[in-house]
Symmetry: C2
Subunit: 200 residues, 2 copies
DNA sequence: GTCTATATACAGATAGAC
DNA sequence: GTCTATCTGTATATAGAC
């Protein structure tokens, strides 16, 4: 039987509430009471839609991973290397702007040792990164990018872009602006341009 | 009455165990059972030394903040600008190497909205960063550093160095080396050299 | 100082009425 | 589908013996 409109609306509300709570407190720190309250449903009703607390969390991580790695997949081997890399930085930064809760959910999972996605890290992520790193290595060898370590460069993109979502509280405390991401884009574009632009 | 050797040893064991557990699961996700087990003490005995779970957490955050900001304080206004900045990066990276649990404890606190240290962020940290940013701005104005945004540059140092401690699981999954920090130092030195070295 | 036993609250999950 | 009531385990913290 197909899902009714009410059902899909409630499912969405639960996932949204779960994202809100899990991203703040981590899996163990979050409670079903909080999620139910945030979703505007009773706790038993929550468990009518999802079998368990872990089921909600698993569903969130699953839908996250794909979106999270998309910018990396979108790097075009046929494009202009520096442009491709700077576009990658901007796409990744856009994720921090548009999906900060997803970023924090992921950060919480990694911080606690990635118990729910360790296999994905070791397989999907690893392969994807190795592929992108090989591409960067080629570009470096052809002299179309400056000499850099491909793996560390990719991780630098992650660290710098995700920082604006994960450490948002600190960023705002230090910057005193209501839109930290505006300055961030200019800064990161400059940073990676200077790192990657092939030298004289 | 002065503290006995046993007392100070137990206190230290509790703080070490608390660091281990809190840094992994966050404040709410950690349990006294885990901490007691890790410390090799009974739960009531734990609470003989610290009044509450929060007291342990508070003590850890307190001793953390000072050590964490020390590298920033150590930037010498009379030094050679580029060297001072690169030394700062290396000192901060050394903290990630030597005190990864402290880094994760801090990350957990910020991720959950910094409920226990929000005042420190708004006062001590803010002032310290503004001071360092003013120094960097001077160096830029004198042409002794390349044109950069001082605040975003400081945060980039944090993001890039702390990433190797906070996201250790992911870093190792992607890099496949038993000492990620070796490559990190070379990479980050290169990155900040290219970002900050005054241009032709 | 350190333990066993326990008070009290809250967690995830289920039963069963409607 | 959604609720109230509740089961069961586990959490923080305390009482009191030793």
């Amino acid at each position: 039987m197909p899902e009714t409109r009410i059902q899909s609306r409630n499912r969405a509300a639960i996932l949204d509430a779960g994202l809100e709570i899990f991203s703040r407190y981590g899996f163990r720190g979050a409670t079903l009471d909080q999620i139910a309250g945030e979703a505007g449903l009773s706790k038993p009703n929550l468990l009518y839609y999802f079998q368990s607390k872990e089921a909600i969390h698993r569903a969130l991580l699953l839908q996250l991973m794909d979106a999270w790695l998309e910018p990396l997949r979108d790097i075009d081997p046929a494009g202009e290397p520096l442009d491709e890399m700077l576009d990658y930085v901007r796409r990744k930064l856009a994720l921090s702007r548009d999906y900060p809760r997803e970023s924090r959910l992921f950060a919480n999972e990694i911080l606690s040792g990635a118990p729910h996605i360790d296999d994905t890290l070791a397989s999907t992520l690893r392969d994807l990164v190795d592929g992108a790193a090989a591409l960067i290595a080629d570009w470096v060898a052809e002299g179309r990018l400056a000499q850099v370590d491909p793996h560390h460069t990719i991780m630098s993109v992650w660290a710098l872009t995700q920082h604006y979502a994960d450490f948002d509280v600190q960023v705002r405390a230090v910057l005193d602006t209501d839109d930290p991401l505006r300055g961030a884009e200019a800064h990161l574009t400059q940073l990676f341009d200077r790192l990657l632009r092939p030298g004289a």
